[in-house]
């Protein structure tokens, strides 16, 4: 694997390799010294054209935990502000010979372009409404830890699928792992033709009881003014996951940040069925695993129980 641009770049074994690697980093995270020397002397560029909290923080911390030198660039306050094109920014950054570029961009295909313009391994940290593969991988990691294999499980993705890169990556990832996926939301927020990607589509929560996992998406408030839904109140009445709709044996996930009281009720967020906190915690180790797979694994895949690299300061 040279880049991580989309979930389609990975087969099931490739996904499992990253999840297994993440398990080994989770073990490292429990040690006193949480840093490993794997990427010492190599440079990771984090290039964020859109605001982000958890994705940028966890990628940057992941790079540091792997001992990489990190260059962190936000669009605001950089040459991007001065009208530099993505291609020229890439050329500039290439002068630092980065081993990896982690990019978040408001438009689809930006990471793919960077992969063509740079020698570095490129990680797509979200491109427009297209893909967010590291999110899908960390969701699978969190889910696997709580639920075991997702093979044959029923997963409902509920909400604004149209504007969600998370929905697209997760649909691919869940299907790759053998889950049955149903997309549910108001008709204007489910893209026409998406059922051809191999999922069911419904516009009602009536059948939600069949789901093993409910994955709720964020509803941006401005969608209402564009007439995608008549009002937030009406959306919540029909699509909010609350304690009444969330079964005792169902798991609840959300990519964050949550609009409390819109797509999820407060009790649902804080319920024991909620995986939201574990999703965030999974971000760091999964992103360490992604960087490791791209930059250090050299194609070989770890056995599930393989030892993590020796921490710095400990005898090899």
């Amino acid at each position: 694997m040279k880049h991580l641009l989309a979930i389609e770049d990975l087969d099931r074994a490739g996904i499992e390799a990253i999840l297994d690697r993440a398990e080994s980093f989770a073990e490292v995270g429990r040690r006193d010294i949480k840093k490993v020397p794997t990427l010492r002397g190599r440079t990771v560029v984090s290039l964020f054209y859109e605001s982000s909290t958890r994705t940028s923080a966890s990628f940057e911390l992941a790079a540091k935990r792997l001992s990489a030198d990190l260059v962190s660039i936000k669009a605001a306050g950089s040459s991007v502000d001065k009208g530099e094109s993505l291609k020229d920014t890439c050329a500039t950054l290439s002068a630092y010979d980065p081993a990896a570029i982690v990019i978040r961009h408001p438009y689809a295909g930006a990471a793919q372009l960077v992969a063509g313009w740079s020698e570095a391994a490129v990680v797509n940290a979200g491109d427009g409404k297209h893909e967010h593969p590291s999110q899908a991988l960390l969701d699978l990691f969190a889910l696997r830890r709580r639920l075991g294999p997702v093979e044959g499980r029923r997963i409902w993705i509920v909400g604004d699928v149209l504007h969600s890169r998370v929905a697209r990556s997760n649909l691919s990832a869940f299907r790759a792992m053998g889950a049955e996926v149903t997309l549910c939301g108001p008709p204007a927020l489910i893209p026409r033709g998406i059922e051809q990607l191999g999922c069911a589509v419904t516009h009602s929560l009536d059948g939600i009881g069949e789901a093993d996992v409910i994955y709720a998406l964020r509803l941006q408030r401005e969608r209402m003014t564009e007439s995608f839904v008549p009002s937030i109140r009406e959306y919540a009445a029909h699509f909010q996951i609350d304690s009444r709709r969330l079964g005792r044996n169902q798991l609840l996930m959300h990519p964050g940040p949550v609009n409390r009281g819109v797509e999820l009720s407060g009790e649902a967020i804080d319920s024991p069925q909620s995986l939201i906190g574990e999703q965030v915690a999974s971000g760091l180790v999964v992103r360490m695993a992604i960087l490791y797979e791209l930059l250090a694994a050299g194609g070989e895949r770890p056995a599930p129980a393989e030892q993590a690299p020796t921490p710095i300061g400990q005898p090899a």
Binding site: Y107, R192, L197
Partner: protein, 448 residues
């Protein structure tokens, strides 16, 4: 109106040549057979039996080659004035000549748009200085393409505007379009319409369907085009106006044009080579250089409907919508990149390769439709009948070539065919009675 006399091109001597032993095919004139085509003073003097005496003429060994009526493109963007970094009249008309065209009609959505008689006069003057093939110019329907007030249509016609179009944008207001069609009774000039309902296409960048759903790109639904056609056809029918529908892309649009024709509306339609050859599946590559344009590439069922429309004549002509863009306007994420692809240099070869060779359409039909763009704008169709102005595309149907390998005549490289292997190539073009183009290797071969 004859192409060479009505449109503007660089002055020069009328061609004096004999195309020896060429297979002549002009389905409209009913000509098919091997002849020596004798061209004197820019006119087709005779279709003679092979071996005819031809004193003082350039000898062109055309055995094994085909001579067609040269093609006519009613829809190109030459980018003058204001965007000469993409194309100009010299480079754009050279691209047309290389594609076998004997005439093109330039759109008016330049910077600033072609909205005054002085604009038209300046462009015609520039064409007389630098155009390799005859070029006609449209003026905008509305001032500065703002969609609000009509241009001085009669004065524009007097200055030589061939017709009117706000192409690039639809005429959004039904009232404004109605007024333009009323005024057309006074001044003539076909009104060419870019059909799109901006309310439905919104921020869309590709066809709405499974591919856009998977890519997370905002879709442009087919009905954005077809509902606009239905509205405008109804207005044209009511006013008795003459409209030409540009770049049809969707099955519903073909149906809307078919229904309008059946109802007696004076309407014609064009389709582009890229819409006839490609579908939205190509967009999965996220390559805006080759696959981003408006209207967008649509589904396979739409493509099939366009082909059916071309065959039955609902669509009377192929138009390239040649839309050059500089690399920096295309080296961007798909959503940000400029819309449009070039097509003049590859139209014949692409359609020959993709539609004729597999047996989807007949060669004669392709030849007819590639020249079908003249009539909707009141121009005589290019013909190979003796006595006609020499407008000839000489083609080698067996020649294989890779598009872009030897660069382009156009200033821009955003060809939807870039990198494609095509079969069939224009080797020589006579346009408006002049020799407008020779493929270099072809000339060398003749010299040997």
């Amino acid at each position: 109106m004859k192409i060479g006399e009505t449109l503007d091109m660089r002055s020069g001597e009328g061609a004096e040549a004999v195309l020896r032993g060429v297979t002549v095919l002009d389905p409209v004139a009913g000509i098919e057979g091997v002849h020596d085509v004798i061209v004197r003073d820019g006119r087709i003097a005779e279709l003679a039996a092979p071996g005819a005496a031809a004193e003082g003429l350039e000898e062109v060994d055309a055995a094994g080659l085909h001579a067609f009526p040269a093609f006519f493109d009613p829809h190109v963007h030459l980018r003058v004035p204001g965007q000469e970094h993409k194309e100009d009249i010299e480079t754009g008309s050279r691209a047309a000549a290389a594609g076998g065209y004997c005439g093109v009609i330039a759109m008016a959505n330049t910077e600033p748009p072609v909205s005054t008689p002085a604009d038209v006069e300046a462009l015609r003057e520039a064409a007389r200085e630098s155009a390799s093939v005859p070029v006609g110019f449209l003026a905008t329907v509305t001032r500065a393409m703002a969609g609000e007030e009509l241009t001085e249509m009669a004065s524009l016609r007097d200055a030589g505007a061939l017709g009117f179009s706000d192409d690039g944008l639809p005429v959004r207001s039904a009232r404004v379009l109605r007024r333009a069609l009323q005024y057309q009774r006074l001044c003539g000039g076909t009104i060419a319409l870019h059909e799109e309902d901006p309310e439905l296409s919104g921020e869309g960048v590709m066809h709405e369907g499974p591919a856009s759903a998977g890519l997370g790109l905002t879709g442009i639904p087919s009905i954005s085009e077809s509902t606009a056609i239905a509205r405008d056809a109804a207005i044209a029918g009511y006013e008795g106006g003459r409209i030409h529908v540009q770049h049809l892309s969707a099955a519903e649009s073909v149906e809307a044009v078919r229904a309008a024709k059946a109802a007696g509306v004076r309407i014609s339609a064009e389709a582009s080579p890229h819409h006839l050859c490609l579908t939205d599946e190509e967009v999965r590559s996220l390559d805006p250089h080759r696959f981003k344009m408006n209207p967008p590439l649509r589904a396979e069922s739409d493509r099939q409907a366009l082909i059916a429309g071309l065959v039955e004549g609902t669509i009377e002509c192929v138009a390239t919508d040649h839309a050059p863009h500089a690399p920096e306007e295309k080296d961007l994420p798909f959503e940000q990149a400029a819309m449009g692809v070039t097509g003049l240099e590859t139209a014949f070869a692409a359609l020959h390769t993709e539609l004729v060779l597999p047996g989807t359409i007949e060669l004669a039909l392709l030849v007819e439709r590639l020249a079908g763009g003249a009539a909707p704008f009141g121009l005589e169709r290019p013909s190979l009948a003796p006595g006609s102005e020499a407008n000839i595309a000489l083609c080698d149907l067996g020649a294989e070539w890779t598009v872009g390998e030897q660069g382009y005549e156009s200033r821009s490289a955003n060809s939807w065919c870039a990198g494609r292997r095509l079969t069939g190539r224009v080797v020589m073009t006579l346009a408006g009675g002049r020799i407008a183009y020779r493929l270099r290797s072809f000339s060398l071969e003749v010299a040997r």
